[in-house]
Symmetry: C2
Subunit: 333 residues, 2 copies
DNA sequence: TTGAAAGCGATACCAG
DNA sequence: CTGGTATCGCTTTCAA
């Protein structure tokens, strides 16, 4: 049977309250008393029951992290940062996968309280204003990414500007047929819309007419799906001069397809991605990409979340994270 | 203020017990009563408090997943499988990172009860018998991987045999200088020891004398570390005929280094990895690897964990997961 | 089939 | 600075 505060208190000859004081360290306790209590805790191998504490305090010390696809390297790197930052602040992280399903995104937000979590960091894909509005009593939530809505706090990279700048960077002399990979026809991924928008803005700046046939769709943002989509595309279309993939994962799949067909990168086609994951940096050739500080995202998301937890009523807070264009071998001219 | 069972009960004109019965669905409730209760729950936007339930039941419905490095694609894919399988069984997953620190591994096991979790799936790196033995009252734990100890349940791939078979597969005619990358000098990674052992066993079968200078160390199993280690190695040593990296992540880093130096894969050197991550399948060239079913690992780990939770006293259970050698372009002869 | 009341373990209030 | 006590929300005997 596990030891409780009562057991510790009895063994130390004090009251449960004193034991609690020793643990929480906020109320001062006389040194000898503290020593007796600490010894009793050690002897009994005492471990506090967090369910009980959570019930009493109304906080569990756990935050939720919900991502669309847990299998991607980007998810892994972001998760690592968030877990490490959360841990440093005394939070545990409970992880969820939404599968880009708006219904699931909504359920996670509204039922968060049931899931034993004090707050939620959510990377939504299609979450619209409506989904956030309807929940009257939302838990503290911080959104990650480009979704447009006015209620929840949010940490984001300016995908529009980044995609525009990347497109401009790809448009070296002689490279005018610039394709994008990752357009989602049908589904309304906010990220895809932003990045496609930035791409189109760049074309306008460059004076290149928009060509629908250069916008390659790819519903699942995975290497497998990207490789297949690009292969199918190249069977029916001429090789573009450059290919801007909306994620590094897709870019890696694209590189594989190009290599299989004997297309040389960057000589025959320049390739770029977005996210700057480790595997892109070590791709063959190393991948040009939009880079941003994932640790900063984690830090800011946790800051916003804790601020929201302590004051549920302040206005919406937005934090923008900067980006850089990392030109690597896949687009060197 | 959040609604409680009492509020629901009052509104439905029943007792709290009846509300509880409706939720848990085990004790039969008359249809009209159930309807009234369900309506009351909906009207009050009732969400059960899991801390209270956990306190009462002694179970939180959360399991822990502790991995050495959350940033790797392998961690991501394994996490995805475990989250999905756990979710299907009604468990949430709390994620932790050990950083390969044995002290942290031990702490997670012994303090698991404090962390609000019912059980722990742990992928240890250096956990020795001692670390498991000393905990008198361990929580339900399932270990992942090759660590040798006799107490905790475990799901594993036979790394020794897999490494042996991969080495044999690499040893095509004319390829006798087979190197390995990922040997950990100093630290005692159980996985590294197993894989190095399998490699040496294959050499013996092949009648190739072991050559210490072909065992390249690499403490951190990341692409960055692998790329750097291999570069340093190649500066001082001739190119081997084949390179067996102990993880796909390292292999990707190695491919990058080889490519930068103009070494052709597989013509000049065959390369292989271990884990079969998505990014390896789409590497340039696509990566030969040891493949195994990550979903099966998740399924079996959860089965062992739930069995252990319902019976803390049965003997140690071991489940072996099969593997296959996937020969892809990086080692085609 | 349903109701009343006890109690899981930790904490905060209020005395002393 | 420390002790008694009520309480968080839910489930579970035991009765009816």
């Amino acid at each position: 049977m596990r030891a409780t505060v009562k057991d510790v208190a009895r063994r130390a000859g004090v009251s449960p309250k004193t034991v609690s004081n020793v643990m929480n360290g906020v109320v001062p306790v006389a040194a000898p008393t503290r020593l007796r209590v600490e010894q009793a805790m050690a002897e009994l191998d005492y471990v506090p029951n967090l369910s009980a504490r959570g019930l009493r305090n109304g906080r569990s010390g756990v935050i939720g992290l919900a991502l669309p696809d847990l299998a991607t390297p980007f998810s892994a790197e972001l998760t690592q940062s968030i877990v490490e930052v959360a841990h440093a602040q005394g939070f545990s992280v409970q992880i969820e996968e939404t599968g880009s399903d708006p219904h699931r995104e909504h359920e996670l937000m509204t039922r968060a309280r049931a899931n034993l979590i004090d707050g939620l960091i959510l990377n939504p894909v299609v979450l619209k204003e409506s989904a956030v509005q309807m929940g009257v009593a939302l838990p503290p939530v911080v959104l990650l990414g480009e979704v447009t809505q006015q209620l929840a706090d949010r940490v984001f990279v300016d995908s529009f500007a980044a995609a525009r700048d990347m497109t401009l960077a790809l448009a070296k002399p002689g490279r005018r047929r610039i394709a994008v990979l990752g357009v989602n026809r049908g589904r309304h991924s906010a990220t895809a819309i932003q990045r496609a928008g930035g791409y189109e803005a760049a074309l306008q700046i460059l004076g290149i007419p928009k060509d629908e046939s250069l916008m390659i769709s790819c519903d699942s943002w995975t290497p497998a799906s990207a490789a297949a989509s690009l292969a199918e595309y190249l069977d029916a279309n001429p090789l573009p001069d450059a290919l801007f993939c909306f994620t590094d994962s897709m870019a890696l799949g694209a590189l594989n397809t190009l290599w299989k067909r004997g297309v040389r990168v960057p000589d025959d086609i320049a390739v770029a991605g977005f996210d700057d994951v480790n595997d892109g940096r070590y791709a063959v050739p190393s991948l040009t990409t939009v880079s941003f500080d994932k640790r900063a995202i984690a830090t800011q998301a946790l800051r916003l979340l804790t601020e929201r937890m302590s004051d549920r009523n302040h206005g919406q807070k937005l934090v923008e994270i900067g980006y850089t264009i990392e030109e690597r071998d896949s687009s060197k001219s």
